[in-house]
């Protein structure tokens, strides 16, 4: 117990060290660029010419990779006021995140409602499993974004199209895992419920569901991971709101600090979502 605790502490310390080292590299790599340009050794004409060409040698260089200080102040400004709303193109990070998470929740929730019952039926019936297999095999590898034009054309609403894309990418891992989990429930547990003459509904909820729950949750976890990957790309395409749109918008603003901040936020939120599903998985996992 104490040995593993000790290991955790040491690993934590090492993580902090690696983080500091990365920040240090960043600091050193960006620190020199600010002072590199000067007007020394240039005639007035040359300076004038450079300005005309859009390369003002006197102005502070802002187009390069942001410095650590600039990054820090951006992070601070976003985190200190996450809920402001100054119109369509200027919303706080929390509002953007809420839009993205809302779309993911809706698309993912709908996918759960379809994939888990359908997976249950497919898993229980070898006939349906075989009948559905070609469809699943063909539809599964399609990039969810490939559905976007079709979704936009038929649904005619960019926000709902985004939700549809999340739905379609979340459905497959859950469907496949649920069907697999249900199909591989141990024969002996089914035999027990058969000899106890358990009715089908009770068997489904009290035997098959708990037996397959760890596999189903693995599917949900994979789906959530994919959904979070896809929402960023989908929002870049459909625009309007969301963290993906924020990234695209800040790229158009050439604000790299904001882009980097958004990338970090996407990473942290993705990690938190995965952790949440990891906890859920722990709850339903059983030791044989």
């Amino acid at each position: 117990m104490s040995a593993s605790k000790n290991l955790n502490v040491r690993a934590g310390l090492l993580s902090v060290l690696i983080f500091l080292a990365l920040l240090g590299i960043w600091y050193i790599a960006t620190a020199s660029s600010g002072t590199a340009n000067s007007t020394a050794g240039m005639t007035a004409e040359q300076i004038e010419y450079a300005k005309m060409m859009g390369k003002d040698p006197g102005a502070p260089k802002s187009g390069g990779f942001p410095t650590l200080g600039a990054m820090g102040s951006t992070v601070w400004s976003h985190l200190s006021n996450p809920f402001y709303d100054n119109g369509p193109n200027d919303k706080g990070i929390a509002i953007q995140l809420a839009h993205s998470l809302g779309r993911v929740a809706l698309g993912f929730g709908l996918a759960c409602l379809v994939a888990i019952p359908l997976g249950f039926i497919i898993g229980m019936s070898p006939l349906l499993r075989r009948a559905f297999d070609p469809f699943i095999q063909v539809l599964k590898p399609i990039s969810p974004l490939a559905w976007m034009p079709l979704a936009l054309y038929t649904i005619k609403d960019s926000s709902i199209s985004g939700i549809f894309v999340i739905f379609i990418c979340s459905v497959w891992p859950m469907l496949v895992n649920t069907a697999f989990g249900v199909a591989s429930v141990k024969r002996e547990w089914l035999n027990v419920s058969a000899t106890l003459q358990v009715n089908p509904l009770r068997k489904a909820f009290l035997v098959i569901l708990p037996a397959a729950a760890p596999t189903i949750l693995t599917g949900m976890r994979i789906s959530m991971g994919i959904a979070w990957l896809v929402i960023v790309a989908a929002e870049m395409l459909v625009g309007g709101t969301g963290i993906g749109y924020f990234v695209w918008n800040e790229w158009n603003n050439l604000s790299l600090t904001n882009v980097i901040f958004a990338i970090l936020v996407i990473g942290v939120v993705g990690m938190l979502l995965d952790l949440a599903f990891g906890q859920l998985q722990k709850v339903v996992t059983y030791v044989e």
Partner: protein, 289 residues
């Protein structure tokens, strides 16, 4: 010496077949009639398996792996179907699984996500769906106490030893108070010491509840200790005259007094001849060489 139906061949003449069946309908609680199972139509694993069990009787079936013991038990449990023949229990044909027949599986088959209490309660609630929580719990506790597991009642199966898990399996089978019990080599995976204790417990419970039991075993001593009758089963084999399916080669009636114990078993008169007879059967006659 101990055989009442010595050879399967004796059942072969078609003429004597019909009256014999009628006679058994009256006496037997469980009748197995001309059962056969074939995965390859020309070569049934076993054929012409007929025997009866009386109420309160403990019958063991013994034979080598692959002779079809488990298939017979599964047919009796209603989990498998025979290619031909039928099973009648208490005047009714066995056509599927039923709460009338409790089964103890070789691999305990407990649900690992439920505690001991919940595992048995699942069976009890299946048997008596109208029962409220309090009587269910009282019933569960009674049967857990019967196998001596009260201290472990709220543990998950993964926290129990192999012997304890099998005890839970036995308690679960008894808890639904079935008309008969089917045990598929329940002690096969246990070490000798644990096996002995649970055999004693099982025997005590069976004697106490007057339960009818059909049990598969590989262990000759176990069969002699527990069974009133022992069915010796032979494997299917290729003879010069052609394929001979497996079946019940002999039925041995246990001559030892019913109040026997594991510790004094080998001191009883008739124990060694009985044991030798069964071992000889297993070594020489049960399987083609």
């Amino acid at each position: 010496m101990w055989s009442d139906v010595t050879q399967r061949a004796a059942a072969a003449p078609k003429t004597s077949d019909v009256p014999q069946r009628k006679a058994t309908t009256v006496t037997g609680f469980l009748q197995i009639d001309k059962l056969s199972k074939a995965y390859v139509p020309a070569k049934p694993v076993f054929a012409d398996v007929s025997f009866t069990l009386d109420k309160g009787e403990f019958v063991c079936i013994i034979g080598h792996s692959g002779c079809g013991k488990t298939t017979i038990l599964n047919v009796l449990a209603g989990l498998d179907t025979a290619t031909s023949g039928n099973v009648i229990m208490d005047g009714r044909e066995v056509a599927g699984p039923s709460l009338d027949r409790g089964v103890v599986f070789q691999s305990h088959a407990l649900m690992p996500w439920l505690t001991v209490r919940q595992n048995i309660a699942f069976a009890v609630k299946s048997r008596w769906p109208e029962w409220k929580a309090v009587p269910v719990d009282a019933h569960v506790e009674k049967f857990v106490a019967l196998v001596g597991l009260s201290p472990a009642i709220d543990k998950k199966p993964s926290q129990l030893s192999g012997g304890m898990k099998q005890r839970v399996g036995i308690a679960r089978a008894f808890s639904i108070q079935p008309k008969m019990l089917l045990l598929d080599e329940p002690f096969g995976a246990l070490d000798a010491l644990t096996r002995g204790t649970i055999q004693d417990e099982l025997m005590a419970i069976v004697r106490q509840t007057q339960q009818t039991v059909f049990m598969i075993t590989h262990d000759v001593d176990e069969a002699i200790l527990l069974a009133d009758r022992i069915l010796l089963m032979s494997n299917g084999n290729e003879t010069p005259e052609g394929y001979r399916p497996g079946g019940i080669a002999e039925v041995v009636v246990n001559p030892l007094p019913r109040e026997r114990t594991r510790t004094s078993l080998h001191h009883l008169d008739g124990y060694y001849p009985l044991r030798n007879h069964i071992v000889d059967f297993l070594v020489t006659r049960a399987k083609a060489h």
